[in-house]
C-alpha cells in the first residue's frame, strides 16, 4: 500500500510577496510586479522588464542568517524554506526528512559577474565567487543551513524543474523511503538567462499577456517556493494538518524541439492525462487548472490546444499566474504548487491578468475575474519547458 503525501505547509518568495500570505494578497488584488530591475545589472535594464524580488542580497541574507556572499538563488531558496519549515523544524525526532530542490541557474549570477576577471588572470582568483556555481551546490548550502541530510537532491529540467522535485518527493514518501519532504525550487534572475531568452526573441518588452491573442512573449521572474509533504504517520507525530495531497503527477517529453513546443502539444497532453490517471480523477473532476501560460505565441497555443483535446467537452476554470510573478523558471512549478494549495485552502480562482483578446486558434478563454468562495477539490498544475520536458501535478483536497 502506497502512502499518501499530504501537503501541510508552504513557503514562497516572488516579486509579488515575501511569503505565502503576501503573495496571496497580491493575487487577490490583481497586483503584479513587472518592471525595471533594481538589482540585476544588465544592458537591457530599460528595455526588457522583469519580475524582480525587491530585496538586495544583503537584505535576503538577513532574513535567514545565510551568508550574503551566496548565490542569489540560494538566498531566495533559504527564505522560502525558512517559512515552510518553521512550524515543523523542532518536531522531527526520528523522522527521515528529504530536501528536494530544483534550479536552472545555480550560482550563475556570481559566475557571470566574475567571469571576465577570471578569464584575464586564472592565477589570481577569488574562488569564493565560483565555489557555488553548480546547481547542486546551491542546494547543498541551503540544506546545510537547515540541517537537511537524510536525502538531498536537485532536479534541473528547465521550466519544469520544481514540478519534478515535488513529484520525486511524493514518490519517496509513497514508498516509505522518507517521512517528510521539503520540495520545490528556486531561481534568481541572471544576465545569462535574460540574454539567452532574448536571443530566442521570446521576451515581452511590456508586461506579458498570457493566453491573449496579441501576446508578445514572456517576462522573466525570480523567486523560490517549497511545499512541506508528510506521510500520515509524520503528520500525526508533529500535529500537522493537511490542506491537500499531491494525488497525481506525470512527466512526459514532447520529443519535438529543444526550445519550442509541438504545435498540438503532444507532451502537454500526455503529462496532463497521465497526471490525472495517477490521481485517479477524470477531466470533469478538475476544478481549476493553473496553466503553464508563459505568454509566448508558441507555448500558449500548444498548451491551449492540448487542453482543448484533453478536456474535450468539459473545460475547467483555468488561468496563468505568470502575469503576476513572471516566469520564475526552475521555481515556477513550486510557485504554482503554492498557488494551487492556496486555491484549494481558500476556494479562490485567480484571474489571468491583462487578458483582453480571445486567441484565434483555441475555443476557450481563461478566467479573467477573481472568483472566491469556490469549492475547489482538484487542481491541475502545468509546467512545461525546454528540452521537451512537460510535467503536470494534481493537488486534491484532503
Amino acid at each position: 500500500m502506497k502512502e499518501k503525501a499530504f501537503v501541510v505547509g508552504t513557503g514562497i518568495i516572488t516579486a509579488i510577496g515575501n511569503d505565502t500570505e503576501s503573495c496571496k494578497a497580491s493575487l487577490m488584488a490583481g497586483r503584479s510586479n513587472i518592471g525595471k530591475p533594481e538589482f540585476l545589472q544588465t544592458h537591457w535594464r530599460d528595455e526588457i522588464p522583469v519580475a524582480e524580488v525587491k530585496l538586495s542580497n544583503k537584505e535576503l541574507a538577513a532574513l535567514t542568517g545565510a551568508d550574503e556572499q551566496w548565490p542569489r538563488t540560494a538566498l531566495l531558496s533559504a527564505v522560502a524554506v525558512k517559512e515552510a519549515w518553521a512550524p515543523f523544524k523542532d518536531k522531527m525526532r526520528g523522522l527521515r526528512v528529504g530536501f528536494f530542490s530544483a534550479n536552472t541557474v545555480g550560482g550563475m549570477d556570481l559566475t557571470e559577474s566574475y567571469y571576465g576577471q577570471f578569464q584575464k588572470d586564472r592565477n589570481d582568483v577569488d574562488f569564493s565567487k565560483l565555489a557555488n556555481h553548480e546547481c547542486g551546490a546551491v542546494t547543498e548550502i541551503v540544506a546545510g543551513l537547515f540541517g537537511f541530510s537524510d536525502f538531498v537532491t536537485t532536479v534541473s529540467t528547465a521550466c519544469s524543474s520544481s514540478a519534478n522535485s515535488i513529484m520525486m518527493a511524493t514518490q519517496m514518501i509513497a514508498n516509505g523511503m522518507i517521512d517528510v519532504a521539503v520540495a520545490g525550487g528556486a531561481d534568481s534572475l541572471s544576465r545569462f538567462t535574460l540574454n539567452g531568452f532574448n536571443t530566442l526573441m521570446i521576451l515581452d518588452r511590456q508586461p506579458c499577456q498570457p493566453f491573449d491573442n496579441n501576446r508578445r512573449g514572456l517576462n522573466l521572474g525570480e523567486g523560490a517556493a517549497y511545499i512541506v509533504l508528510m506521510s500520515e504517520k509524520a503528520m500525526q507525530q508533529c500535529g500537522a494538518t493537511a490542506v491537500c495531497t499531491v494525488s497525481g503527477y506525470a512527466n512526459n517529453n514532447d520529443a519535438y524541439h529543444q526550445t519550442a513546443s509541438s504545435p498540438e502539444g503532444t507532451g502537454n497532453k500526455l503529462a496532463m492525462l497521465n497526471a490525472m490517471k495517477t490521481a485517479g480523477v477524470s477531466p470533469k473532476d478538475i476544478d481549476y487548472i493553473n496553466l503553464h501560460g508563459t505568454g509566448t505565441a508558441n507555448n500558449d497555443s500548444s498548451e491551449g490546444k492540448a487542453i482543448e483535446a484533453v478536456f474535450n467537452g468539459y473545460l475547467p476554470k483555468a488561468s496563468s499566474t505568470k502575469a503576476y510573478t513572471g516566469h520564475t523558471l526552475g521555481a515556477a512549478g513550486a510557485v504554482e504548487a503554492v498557488f494551487s494549495y492556496i486555491a484549494i485552502r481558500d476556494g479562490i480562482v485567480y484571474p489571468n491578468l491583462r487578458w483582453q483578446t480571445q486567441m484565434e486558434d483555441i475555443s476557450w478563454q481563461p478566467v479573467t475575474e477573481l472568483q472566491t468562495g469556490q469549492d475547489i477539490n482538484h487542481v491541475l498544475s502545468n509546467s512545461f519547458g525546454f528540452g521537451g520536458n512537460c510535467s503536470s501535478l494534481v493537488f486534491s483536497k484532503s
Binding site: 546547481c135 537532491t153 520525486m168 514518490q171 539567452g196 517529453n253 529543444q258
Partner: protein, 323 residues
Amino acid sequence: MDLYLKGTGIIYTGEIPPMQLRRMGKAVRIGIAAAKECMKQSGIERPDAISVGTAMGCLEDTDNFLQKMVSQGEQMLTPTAFIQSTHNTVAGTIAMLTGCNGHNLTYVQRGHSFEHAMINAQLYLDEHPGEKMLVGGIDELTGTSQAVLQHARIYRLENSDPATLLTSSEAGSIAGEGVAFFTVAGSKQEGLNLHIKDISAFVTKDITVAVSKLSDFMSHNGISPEDIDLVVLGVSGDERTSVFYRKLQLSTFANQSQAAFKHLSGEYGTASALGLGLIMHAANHNHLPEAMVVNHPPKKLERILLINNYAHYYSYWNISVLR
C-alpha cells in the same frame, strides 16, 4: 532496490571522438553516442523513459555563451549555445532523436547526480513494470571547469596523466570526463544483466563515517568480504580519501580481487556511472580488463561491490551478475 541493467555505452577521457555532429557541444555529442551504443547492445530502438545525472551539465556551451555575453557586452548574441547549455539538453536530445515521449528527468546533485538518476529509475519502474529506461551519467571537462576545479582542489594544480593516480596521494585528483548509459528494467532482461540490489549514497567529510557506513551497508545487505568476487574502487589519488581506500585495499578487502578505474578516466562528478559501465563491460566479456586490475584478477565475476566518492559525495553499490 532491484534494478536490472543490460548493455552499456561508455566513452571517457582520451577516447572522445572529434566533432561529428555540427552545432552540438561535447556533452551532447558523447551523450548521444553512448546512449546509441547502449541501445544497440541491449536491442532497443526507443527507451520508454530517460533518467540522466550530470554534476555540471553542458559546460562547453555554457562557457561559449558566457564568454560572448561578457566580451560583447550582452550584444549580438546568438541562441545556439544558450539553447544547448541547459542541464537537461542531453536527456532532451535523446528523447527527440528516439521519439521517446516518456518520463524524462535530469539530476544535478554534484557527486550523487548519477545515483539519484538510478533511484529515480527505481521509483519510475516500480510504477511502470515491464518498461525499459535509459539511465546515464555524464560530465564533460572544459578548460574553464578544469581551472575552477583546480582552485577548488578537486583537481591537482599540476594536472598530469590519470595513470599516476594509483601510486600518488596529493591535494586533489586528476581531471577527467566521461559518460555511461544503461538500459534498466525492474525485472530480469534477456541475456546478461547487472542486478543492482542496493545503493547507499551519503555525504560526509569524515572518513571514519565513510568506513562505518560501509560496514552498515554490508551488514544490511547480508554480505561479508569473502562473498565478494571483485571490489571496484573509485580511488582517485586525492590525499583526503587515500586513507579510506588504503584501509579497504590493505584490510577490509585484502583477500579480494580489487579493481580501479579513475587512473583510466580521471575524476569527475558522475564517474560512478563509468565504474558501473566498466563492470558491465567486464561482465559481458567475462573478463576484467588488465588495465583495471589492482592486485590480482578475479576468479569469477558474480558478486561485485562498487565503492566510489567524488569529493565528499560517496556511493556504495551492491551488484550481482546474472547470466
